[in-house]
Structures are given as C-alpha cells and as structure tokens.
Point group: none
C-alpha cells in the first residue's frame, strides 16, 4: 500500500503515522498528510493545542489528527525539520540504505523482541545477528549490512531516535519549538519508550527504523543528521516553554505549553530512562548510544555501527555537549546542554528568530563545507563504499576497510553544531558537518574521535551498501526486479545494476523487487510502526544503521556521517559536499527558523484572525481540544478505539482510496 503507492516512498512507511510514505519529506519518510501537517505546523505552532494526554499520544494513521501536539512531536522525533529537506534524485546509496534499513528494521523488529529490554547496548550484536538471519544475505548478511549501517550501535530506540528522531538533523529547533525535545527525548524514545515501553510496541518507534534514511541530505551524503532533534529535545525541555511562548505568544504559549506537556509525555518515554542528560535526549536510544557510546571506544564503534552516523543528532548533540566534555556522563550533560542550547537556538528561531542571524550562522556553517575538497572525496568515498558494498556483497567480505579515512573527525563536525546550537545547525547536517568539522573539532573531537574511527570502520562497513550482496532487500529487489541489471557487483555495478533504487519505484522496486522487498519491510514496518508508536522505538537501532548513513551519510546526517566519517572524512570532502548540501539545508533551516518566526507571526495573526472571527474557530485549533474535552471521554474512547484499532487500525486505512487519484478530475 503505502509504499507502493508512492513511488518515491521506497516502501517506506510514514515514520510519523505508519501510513505508506509518500517520500522523504523534511528529513523523514512520511505520508502526504504528515508532510503537509509538518509544513503547516512548523510555522504555526500556535495552532497546536496541548495534548490532553500528557503528550503520550501514540500516533498512527487513525488517530493522527486527534492530537496535533503529539503529531508534531512525533514529527520532530522522527527527525523532521525544515532543514532536513533536500531535492533531487536520491543516490543509489541512499536508496540502498533505505532498503537496508528496512531490512534492518525488520531485523530489528525481530531483535527488538529479543532485545527490547536490552535497549541500546545490545543492539549492535543483535542487529548483526538479526541482520544475518533476516536477510540472509550472502555476503555479509544483510543484516550485517544493516547492522553496519546503523543498526549495530543503535539501539532500536536509538534507532528511531536517530533516524527517526534524528534523521535529518532536524533541528533541534524544531524540537525545541515543539517542546518536543522532551519528546524528542522521548524520542529517544525508543529507548525510553521501548524501555518505558509503556507503549505498545516497544518497537514502536519503530518508525524510526523507517526514518533511517535520513538522507536528508542529498543522496550523497547520507547525512546523518545527527543533529537531530535530540539536541532539541534537550532544549525542548527548557526551551520549549519559552520558545513557544515567545513567538506565537499566547497561542504559542499554549502551544508551548502543550508541547511541553507533550514532551513530557514523550519524555516519559524516554525520559524515564534517561537520566538527565540523556534524559534530555529524547532518544534513549540515542542516549544510550551516547551513553553507551560514551565510553570511548564503545562509543564510536557503536556509533559507526550505528551508523549512527546517522544520527547526527546524537553525534551532534553529543558532540557538542558531550564531546567536549568527555563524553560520558558529563558528556551527556554537555550534550544536553548543547542540546539545550540548540534548542534554545531553535526556539529562537522559532521565536525569534533571529533569523537573520541564524541565517548567517548557517551560512557560515555551510560555507565551511563547501570547500571542501572533500566533496569530491566524498563522492569518491561514497563510491568506494558502494563499490565496496557491492563487492562485498558479491564478494562478501565487507569492506570495512575501505574507508580510509579519516576522520574527519566527527568531532569537527559535531562541534559545529553546537553552534548551532542553534537550531540551524540542523538544517542540515551539512551545516553540522561543516560546523562540526570546523568547529567542532572542539568538543567532541576527542570523544568522537575515537569513535569516529570506529565509526569509520563501521561506516565502511555500513556503507557497504555493498554488502556484497545487496542486502537482502536489495537482492530481493534485484532479483525480483526485473529491471536490475545484472549487477556487477562492484561499484559500478551498483549503479548499473542498479537495482532500482528508485525511491518511487514503487514500481520497480515495488513492483518487482520492491514488492518482495517491500513486503518484507513493510511488514516490519507496520509492525514496527505500531511498535514504534508504542515505544518500541528504541531498538530500531537499525535505523541507525542505515541510515545508513554512510551512504547517505555524507550528507546528512552528515553529522553522523561525519562522525562516522570522520574517518571517512576523508571523506569529509564528500561530506563536505554533502554538507554543503546540508548547508543548503541549513539555510533552509535558517529560513525555516525564520519562517517559524515569521510563521509564528503569521500564525498568530492568522489565528488571531481566525479566532476572531470565528471565534469558533479558534476553537479550531483549539477545537480539537475542545473536542477533546468531551472527548476526554472520547479520548478515552479513542484510546479504546485505538487500542482496538490498534489492532484495527489499520483500519485504517480504510479506505484510503484516495489515492488514486484518479485524478480524475480531470
């Protein structure tokens, strides 16, 4: 369904609500509705009323319109950010990542079951394991690949968080805006969530898995988007209230409030688990990662495994905050702080937006990258990876080595963030990267460094797109897909063979390979999603994987990637490139922020207006709330329903029909 439908979705499901994704929007795979919602809401926080359930609403298709606060939160958690967007085709890598992720997710899901408890740590292992089993790829088991991607390190939750959450580096800002942070934190989610598991599916967050591809970045980079939300999350806490209030003001306030509350809930998820810092971090997973990561070695390795790279946020955050520090606990704190800062920044944005400033900031950030010789390198790198992957797959041996790299120190990358603190950062991973790279160095460097290294390796692995064999998924696709050419395996092949990586492809992929693939995936996803919602998130480590980062990495997640990269870095270039992209993004971000600011204004106006008029209207937004009231009971009812649905839900779909479109119209 979903996927297929949407060509561009690559079989992904909406990380937010679980519907079939229409594409990668604002840093995450989402459906049209969530895309629009996010776009609309980003600017009008004021329109969002507080959650009646303490921000604990689980978002799924059916109830996604029931609680805007939680929906938005979820959006942020999964890494959506204005900055995260990108245009144009996606690189094969990216696609591959997506595939892998899915696989991973699946695997993860499986794992989660096992792991759940485990939370972050185990992941890597599990991931691998699962991966293997799942895909059963030749080469390295797909799983492995997946694992490589992000999975490893990531915990499911983390995963989610990362990707989901972090994907794109959404901006903390955003999070902050929302107040999500907490949420984010929760996002962390998974961690917590899953851990907390209050929710249904630990997995839940699963979605994250989906998210994985962060790709925000352009293909090239896989960006990890480390930045991700996390930071925000942190921020969120503090930030929220403020931020929101600021701009939107009243409504905002409320919004803020809501958000906050929302967060809370989220937080709860996560939070619970998380302690302070981490705590801050939304994602437990992340947190965990970090935390886990914290330890020097552990850290990185995992990371890269994680692919974490992927998670810029984490990284970022970590970096910023943590890194500098030592990482560890403190780190975390730091991170948190950083995050906070970021959040604050974000909020600003929101609020304020300093926009200009920010913009500038960003710009700056970006600039950095540019240069980058890297770019080239990045690309090369990518190819290496890809090739490696291909080879590996074919050959099987993982390419870990390939990456030569460098390192670019993630730290650098990371560091930058802080800057961002700003929200901007987010914008892009790129920025981050740049920043990080540049800046960064600072903080995290240390920490990360070590990690990075690992990561790099990991990355390499990850990268792997190669996986010698395409990951199961890929393979499947390939197999199934007619399109594919014969693969050469090698690098080139990749391309060639190309499986159809086309995102959309539903056709191809779906149709052909995809289908199968998708199928599998989807299944997972769904499950996951559900899971996610519930909480599962954490585990999704996979996501992390993939996210591949590597692939994508570059870009995106750059951060993450970077981190990973660092090494890669050498890759940096590439990264840079990606970064650049990111930067671009960043701009966006800025803009975004700005927008927000603006929006807020607007919104306000609007709302106001509306309100005025309708008074009723006001309600509108609020309405929902109102409804809620009644609904309270209703809510209860809903909940029930949901539960029911839960199962049901699916129902979902129901009808959807829509889709089609026939367009009809004409």
């Amino acid at each position: 369904m979903m996927n297929q439908d949407n060509p561009y979705a690559m079989n992904q499901t909406c990380k937010v609500c679980g519907e079939p994704a229409a594409g990668f929007h604002f840093g995450a795979f989402t459906c049209e509705g969530c895309k629009s919602f996010f776009g609309r809401s980003y600017n009008n926080l004021s329109s969002i009323s507080d959650c009646k359930n303490n921000g604990e609403c689980i978002i799924n298709k059916k109830n996604r319109t029931a609680c805007k606060a939680c929906r938005l939160k979820k959006c942020l958690m999964v890494g959506m950010s204005k900055s995260g967007s990108r245009y144009g085709r996606r690189s094969n890598w990216f696609k591959i990542h997506c595939l892998l992720q899915e696989q991973q997710q699946q695997a993860v899901a499986a794992m989660q079951a096992h792991q759940q408890a485990a939370g972050g740590g185990g992941l890597g292992g599990a991931g691998g394991g699962s991966g293997g089993s799942v895909n059963g790829l030749k080469v390295p088991p797909p799983a492995a690949a997946a694992a490589a991607l992000g999975m490893l390190g990531h915990v499911p939750g983390g995963y989610a968080g990362l990707y989901g959450a972090g994907p794109p580096g959404r901006s903390k800002e955003e999070l902050m805006m929302l107040g999500l942070e907490s949420a984010v934190a929760s996002g962390e989610y998974g961690g917590v969530v899953s851990g907390g598991g209050s929710l249904k599916h630990p997995v839940v967050v699963a979605s994250p898995s989906v998210s994985s591809p962060d790709s925000h970045n352009s293909d090239s980079s896989v960006e990890v988007s480390v930045s991700r939300v996390n930071p925000l999350l942190h921020l969120g806490g503090s930030g929220n209230g403020n931020g929101n209030g600021a701009k939107t003001v009243s409504s905002s306030s409320s919004s803020s409030a809501e958000i906050v509350s929302t967060r809370a809930s989220p937080a709860p998820h996560l939070r619970k688990d998380l302690p302070p810092f981490l705590p801050g971090l939304p994602f437990p997973g992340l947190a965990s990662l970090p935390t886990m990561m914290a330890p020097p070695p552990p850290f990185l390795p995992p990371s890269h495994l994680l692919f974490s790279g992927y998670h810029p946020a984490l990284y970022t955050h970590s970096h910023q905050g943590l890194l500098p520090t030592a990482a560890t606990p403190e780190q975390q704190q730091q991170q948190q702080q950083a995050a906070v800062a970021a959040a604050a920044a974000v909020q600003h944005l929101f609020n304020s937006s300093n926009a200009a400033q920010r913009s500038n900031l960003n710009n700056n950030h970006i600039h950095l990258l540019p240069n980058g010789s890297k770019n080239p390198s990045d690309e090369l790198t990518k190819r290496f990876y890809l090739d490696a992957v291909l080879k590996s797959q074919q050959q099987s041996p993982p390419p870990s080595t390939k990456l030569p790299k460098q390192d670019y120190s993630i730290s650098a990358l990371v560091t930058p963030n802080s800057e961002s603190g700003s929200r901007e950062r987010i914008r892009s991973r790129e920025d981050l990267e740049d920043n990080e790279m540049n800046g960064l160095a600072n903080k995290d460097a240390a920490i990360e460094d070590s990690e990075d290294d690992d990561e790099e390796d990991l990355v390499v692995s990850m990268t792997p797109p190669h996986s010698p064999h395409p990951p199961a998924v890929l393979q499947q696709q390939q197999q199934q897909q007619p399109h594919n050419q014969p693969q050469d395996d090698d690098e080139e092949d990749h391309q060639d063979n190309p499986i159809d990586l086309s995102m959309k492809t539903s056709a191809s992929c779906r149709s052909s390979a995809a289908s199968s693939c998708s199928t599998n995936h989807e299944k997972h996803e769904d499950d996951e999603e559900e899971m996610e919602e519930e909480g599962g998130g954490a585990e999704h480590k996979l996501t992390p994987h993939a996210r591949d980062d590597d692939v994508d990495d570059h870009d995106d997640d750059d951060d993450v990637e970077e981190l990973q990269h660092h090494q890669d870095e050498g890759e940096d270039k590439e990264k840079e490139l990606s970064v650049k992209e990111e930067l671009s993004d960043a701009k966006d971000i800025d803009k975004v922020n700005i927008e927000q600011s603006n929006n807020n204004n607007n919104n306000n106006s609007i709302n106001s207006n509306n309100n005025n008029s309708n008074s009723n209207n006001n309600n509108n937004s609020s309405n929902p709330g109102d409804n809620n009231k009644e609904e309270a009971s209703d809510s209860i009812k809903r909940k029930l329903d949901d539960l029911v649905d839960g199962t049901k839900e699916e129902n979902g779909k129901r009808l959807r029909l829509d889709a089609l479109d026939l367009t009809t119209k004409i």
Copy 2:
C-alpha cells in the same frame, strides 16, 4: 436524489437512514443528520434510551429520530466510528471506485435479482450482464465494469459490506461502545453476527454498500478498511460491555445492550460468508480476479482490469481469503474480465490517457512513465492498464495484455503490506501493501499472509484503474464535461477527460454524467439499502468479505485496502501518472467543481473574512491560496531568510523554494 445533492457524497446514500449522503463521515457515507447524531451520541451514550423494540427498529429517513438506540446501532453497524474518519481529498481512485461501484451496484441489483440466492459466487457473471445493460457502455458494459470492479464478487450487499461495513475500520471501539463489539466480532462479523443475527437486518448493514468508498484512507490507498470494525467487534465482545459501560456508563450500558443486539445484525453481513478469507472476501469477483489474476500475467492484467481495483478490499480480501481459495469458476473469470474491462474503461477515463496525455499531462506525473525504465514499467504498467482499459472500453477487448509488465508483480506490491497489521497500512494501498507484505508477517502473517499474498495479486488487478473505457459513468462525465480536451479518444483522451472525480462534483459528474449515474446508483442504493435493512443483508456477504477479512484483521483493513491498493497502488503510480495527467485535467474539472468549491471557498473566505478576516490572511500572502495566506508571511520570512543567508543560497534548494516562493507568492 440523494447523492446528487451532496457534492461530496458521490451519489452515495446515507448508510444509516438512506438519505442522500452528505459525505463520508466517521467511516461511512452519511447524511448530515446521521453524522451529527453520531457525533453527538458518541460522546453521550447516556443520552440514548433503550429501544422499545428490542433493538429491532429499522432505520430510515422517516423514522430515524424515533429510536436513538437503534439509530446509533445502525451507525455503528455501518462502520461509523470516531476513528474511521478521514480527511482531505479523496483520491481519484476512490472516486473512480465510487463510480464503478455505482455501476456495479446497478449491475448488481440486476444480478441480484438473478443471483440473490447465489450470493457471492455468481456475481461475476451476472454483473457483467447487468452491467452491460445498465450503462450500455461501449466497451464492456458498464455493468461489466461495475462487475469488474467489485461487483463481480461483490454482491451488492457485499459491496456495501465491504465498504459499508468495514469501511473504515471503525473502531472497534465504537462498536464496543455500542456493544457492537459483538457485532464487530461478528464483524468478524459476519460470521457471528449473522449467526446471531438477532438483529434486525441482517442486511442491514447494508449501508455498507454505501460505505464502500472507504476511503478513509487516504486517498492513496483505497484502503479498504478492511480492518474495519470487525476487529473491534471481536474486541468488542469483551470490551464492549466494559468499554462502553465505562465511559458512557449507564447509558452506555443500556446502549450496549442495544448495541449488542445490533451487532448481531451487522455481523451477518460479512462474516457469514466470509469465512475467513475468501469467504471473507466480499467480492467473489475480486476473489476471482485475484485468483485468476494470480497467475502471473493474469495478474497484472486482471488487476488493472480490476481496476476494480477499485476495491482493493476485494482484491485484497479476496486474495487473501478467496483467492487462495479458489476462484470459481468462471464467474470469477468473467467477472474479472468484466471487471477488467470495466476497470479498463474506467481507467481509461481517467487514465486514459495514456500516454500522450500522460506525458503531457502529467508531465509531472508522467515523468514516471517517461522513462522509466523501471518506473516506467510501473508506469507503463499502469498506463497499460489504463490504456487497456480505455481501449477495452472502446475496443472492448480488455487490455489484459497490456501490462507487460511486469509485474510488478502485484505480489510484490501486495506483498509488502501486510505488515502490520497495522492499521496504518492502509494508508494506502501501498502502505498496506507494504505493510502487509512485510508486516504482516507479524500479526497476521500467518493468517493474513496467505491472504496478503493473495492480496497482492489482487491488488494488481485492482489497480486497474485502467479500465479501458471509462465506465459508463466516466464516459458520461467526460462527454458531458466540457472541459475535456478533445480526447483522443483512446487513452490519451481519457485522461484528458478526466472525469471529474470530484466527489462533490456533483457538479460535473453529477450534474452531467454523474447525475445519470448517480441517479441510477442512488436508486440502487436506496433499494439496496432498504433491502439491507430488511435483511437482505446477509447475502451481502460481500461486505463481509471485504471487510472483512482483511479488514478486520487488523490491519486488515488496511490490508485489505492495501491489498486492493496494492495493486492499485502499483498501479496507482501509473495511475497516478495518468491520473495526474488526468488530474491535471481533473484539475480543470476540479476547478469546475471548484466552482462549487469556490462557492465553498468563497463562502469560507467570505465567512472567514468576515470573521476576521481572515482576510488578513489573504493579505499575507498574497497568497492566493488560502493556504498561502499564512504562509505568505512565511514565505516572506523565508525569503528573508534567504536573503539573509545570502550565502545560503547555496541552499539553493530553499532558495529555490524561496525563490520560487517568492516568485510565486510574490
């Protein structure tokens, strides 16, 4: 009558009372009164007094206010639930489906006469026959088309059931609330309830027919809502009492009581027939198709044929259930064929357009096709279907072949979904599909799995939007519609023609073509409904089917839908393309419709303005678009940002955006 009135109703009648539906509310097509009633009652169960007639009151326009308990029960039976609501536009597919359904219904009606006894099986054949007569389409008789669509399998009732009943996955909750659960369970329905059948109309649920469009889902998928209530029902049982009681408490209780009784009725629908799977499947036809389809080539073809696609549910369901089972015989085949033809036709309409059009049309859309190799294939496929349809219609021969392709294999498509049971899946077909495929695995996997697979196949069929010639209806529309460009007739033309799918469109469609159609339909519907109420329902198994099964299953719904979708989806893409093209056209159409809309808009605006003025908004943006309004500011902001960024530029993207925006807005 009914339908026409309400633009958004798409000729549907209120499933609860038989009046012309005002739109799809809370999971079913209902009139304003029933919508409001349900909304009010949902929260205040206490306000509902017990039925004096043991819950056996038959609800119709005249007496609908006489017994709240029975009215509410009926609402639940027809699948209304808070969770069942959907927002936004209906996908073209959906619209198409509606059209087809109508035709089918008509056909069905005819057939029923014949078949009645037959129940599910015969349909196909009959359908065709009737169809022909009804529309008298060139190509395949409309009826055929209808048949093709869902008819085949579907029985009228079934039809309803599918949609109606299952529609959206209402929520179990609701059911539960009502006490329906049982019903739900029955939902499962059919099975039980009917068995229990204490209730009134077995048929009752008839409404289902209406429901059909489930659309809940987003457009994309048609989701069939499989999930539907049923699941709930299950739950319900236990749940109900509790649940209901819980909230509403006293009243609830009573309500429950009533409800319960009610349930009985519903269940009957589906369930009965459906056994789990197939049985479940409402539509025999579909089932058949799928089944038939199943075979490789067939597969696709059918799908498109299906187009019936429309019913994803069917497909899905069938597949799952039925297909596996066996098709019957010929009928199925026939049906399929017919369906196919119909579908084709329809698609035609829509699509029709093939190529050229598409290309053009869509350009955008088209893109896909364009090249695509892969995609292309998909697209192609879709187009093929479409074209086929068109041709078929025109030519009559179904295009089965067309699809070359691929196949995308439905399976592929389909497969995926399962996922999760998730409700989500639905999202769309795709989602569903994916999910199913994947997900499924999980839950249902077992059960569903089989189904899923089937579904996929089915899906394919579904897709079909292609139907060569647009179904009668479509054609009509086209004809009537001025907008259309000259068609080329064939495919291309079709697109152009875009039929207006707009629900409301009453305007276009209705007014023109629609009317006729609608009229007919309505007629049918009315009849049917009545029938249903009385009891006829049982047979309607169809309903059950669909919904059923899949639906129910949790996800099912989704699944179902998905299933259908799947295919569709797959197709969708193409379809989309075509559609898009069409859409474009459609747009026009829409626009036309729009007028209507405008009205609305105007109103709104006005209102708004009045209110506050939103007007303000307008200002903002300048935006033309309403949306814009707010955004306007945003855009501005963005622009600013950009400026700021200056650097940003890089971002390009954004910039662009901005630029764009600016431009645009500006």
